[in-house]
């Protein structure tokens, strides 16, 4: 498979002296769904920001062997523009790139529909529930057709059922668009359900402590959550997480 992204020996020390990540190596192939799991403050978010180019590494390199792909980013908060409707929010990347309005509208409309928000194009963020706001955020991230989707604990604030629904929708979107996803989460179950590979990180400064390869069926739904394969995956991630935090303590 083609290598999409390679981080080698990336470290990040903030101005206040806190070292968020230390010599992080990470290679991601095109089409992978990689989860980063770890305790709070292990630099997972910082790693995503560095990959997105929003923060510069203190040392080490970030390389995109096939050129920098289009990137979509979903934050922990929906982070919508409160003064704009769902459609205008979803259109953001296209508007900023200067895509003509008619085409941008069409593409944003399609993104909203695919994110499960058909009929809510005109709704303002404050009129939407937490789960729907997050769906707008997902629609905004996919509207411009990115090849790489970065997600920073996107569903952490949602109730379990909304979260599971969004997990399934996200998998469908990633599969249909052949997107590579790097997904940061606290949740062992979420990582075990979504990923083809889980990277468990140590507490600050963050490094990769363990790598767990999973092979979930490409099409899965809630019944997969009841299988032994899912339980085994979750157990492996949990065990690796336990080792990583205990080793640091």
């Amino acid at each position: 498979m083609n290598m999409l992204l390679a981080l080698s020996a990336v470290s990040k020390t903030f101005d206040n002296g806190v070292q968020a990540i230390a010599r992080l190596d990470l290679a991601v192939a095109a089409g992978e769904f990689v989860s980063l799991v770890g305790p709070s403050g292990c630099g997972k978010s910082t790693a995503l920001r560095i990959i997105a180019g929003l923060a510069a590494p203190s040392s080490g390199t970030v390389a995109f062997p096939d050129g920098r792909p289009g990137i979509g980013f979903v934050f922990q908060e929906p982070t919508l523009m409160p003064w704009a409707g769902a459609l205008a929010n979803a259109r953001l990347a296209l508007d900023l790139k200067g895509v003509p309005r008619a085409e941008a509208d069409e593409r944003a409309m399609r993104a909203l529909r695919r994110a499960g928000l058909k009929g809510f194009e005109k709704a303002y963020p404050r009129e939407l529930s937490g789960g729907m706001k997050m769906r707008v955020s997902v629609a905004r991230a996919i509207a411009a057709g990115p090849r790489l989707l970065l997600m920073d604990e996107p569903f952490a604030a949602l109730d379990e059922l909304s979260r599971q629904a969004l997990n399934d929708d996200l998998l469908a979107l990633a599969r249909e668009d052949n997107m590579t996803v790097i997904f940061v989460t606290h949740s062992v179950f979420e990582s075990a359900y979504l990923s083809s590979r889980v990277l468990v990180m140590t507490p600050r400064p963050g490094r990769v402590a363990a790598e767990i390869k999973l092979s979930p069926p490409p099409l899965r739904d809630v019944s997969y959550r009841l299988t032994q394969a899912f339980a085994d995956g979750a157990r492996k991630v949990q065990a690796a997480l336990k080792d990583a935090t205990e080793a640091a303590a």
Partner: protein, 258 residues
């Protein structure tokens, strides 16, 4: 409904009490005229009062408009250049904290007593300018950092950040500043007329001074009432504008549910 009926009922009750107290205690008209005595003073001087009202309004609105445009322009300049802000902000504060009454005579001298209106606009502008500037500056700076990250991720230009992110985000602050400035512009206009004293001043403040000098107390009250009405009308006009701009999306304009 009670939002309107309660204050209106209170106002009517207060006016009735005033009327009753003046006649019951036999208060002389040159101390406190009764509402019934103010009404004819208003009717008799209607045309001169309206003329003066127009003068005061013109000064207030012109000063307010200049304050909004100037305050916004300077706030945008501050948001684009930290140096501009560091260099100019202290002087804006100096202008704000120096009592306008102390500067007013100077401004009158500079514009000349034959251009009282010009001086009044400048004085009202000085008073009204700062709230727009400081609120807009604060608003332009209070950008959601997550949204700013997204704009950067998508390669937004400075102009796009300003126009699509900072300005719409600052609207609640800008509207708040405009509401304060609207009231201050009227105060500034009145202060300017008082300082100008006689001469070419013909606004409502001058009507009050003139009527006071002649002990025409009911006429003073009539002019005073008009001034208050203008202030209230300006305030509610701006509140309505704020509602128009913000009600679709901002929490401050949300109707309380339940």
């Amino acid at each position: 409904m009670t939002r309107y009926t309660v204050p209106v009922a209170l106002g009517i009750a207060a006016i009735a009490l005033w009327q009753w107290a003046v006649s019951h205690y036999d208060v002389p008209v040159f101390v406190l005229p009764s509402p019934a005595a103010i009404r004819p003073a208003f009717v008799e001087n209607f045309s001169s009062l309206m003329e003066s009202l127009w003068v005061t309004l013109r000064i207030t609105w012109l000063a307010f408009g200049l304050a909004v445009v100037g305050g916004l322009a300077l706030a945008v300049a501050f948001s684009q250049s930290r140096t501009a802000e560091m260099a100019l902000y202290p002087y804006a504060v100096v202008l704000q904290v120096t009592p306008v009454l102390a500067i007013a005579p100077l401004i009158l001298i500079w514009t000349g007593y034959e251009h009282v209106e010009r001086a009044a606009v400048i004085i009202a502008l000085i008073v009204a300018f700062f709230p727009v500037l400081s609120n807009a500056t604060l608003g332009l700076r209070s950008v959601d950092p997550g949204l700013l990250d997204l704009f950067r991720l998508y390669g937004a230009s400075r102009w796009q950040v300003l126009w699509r992110l900072q300005l719409p985000g600052a609207l609640p602050h800008i509207m708040a500043g405009m509401k304060i400035s609207g009231g201050l512009a009227l105060i500034g206009a009145v202060v300017a007329e008082f300082v100008a004293g006689s001469g070419a001043a013909t606004g409502l403040a001058w009507r009050i001074t003139e009527a006071g000098n002649r002990l025409e107390i009911p006429k003073m009250f009539a002019a005073l009432g008009l001034l208050a009405a203008v202030g209230v009308a300006n305030f509610y006009a701006l509140t309505f504008l704020e509602w128009l701009v913000l009600h679709r999306w901002h929490e401050s304009a949300r109707e309380r549910e339940g």
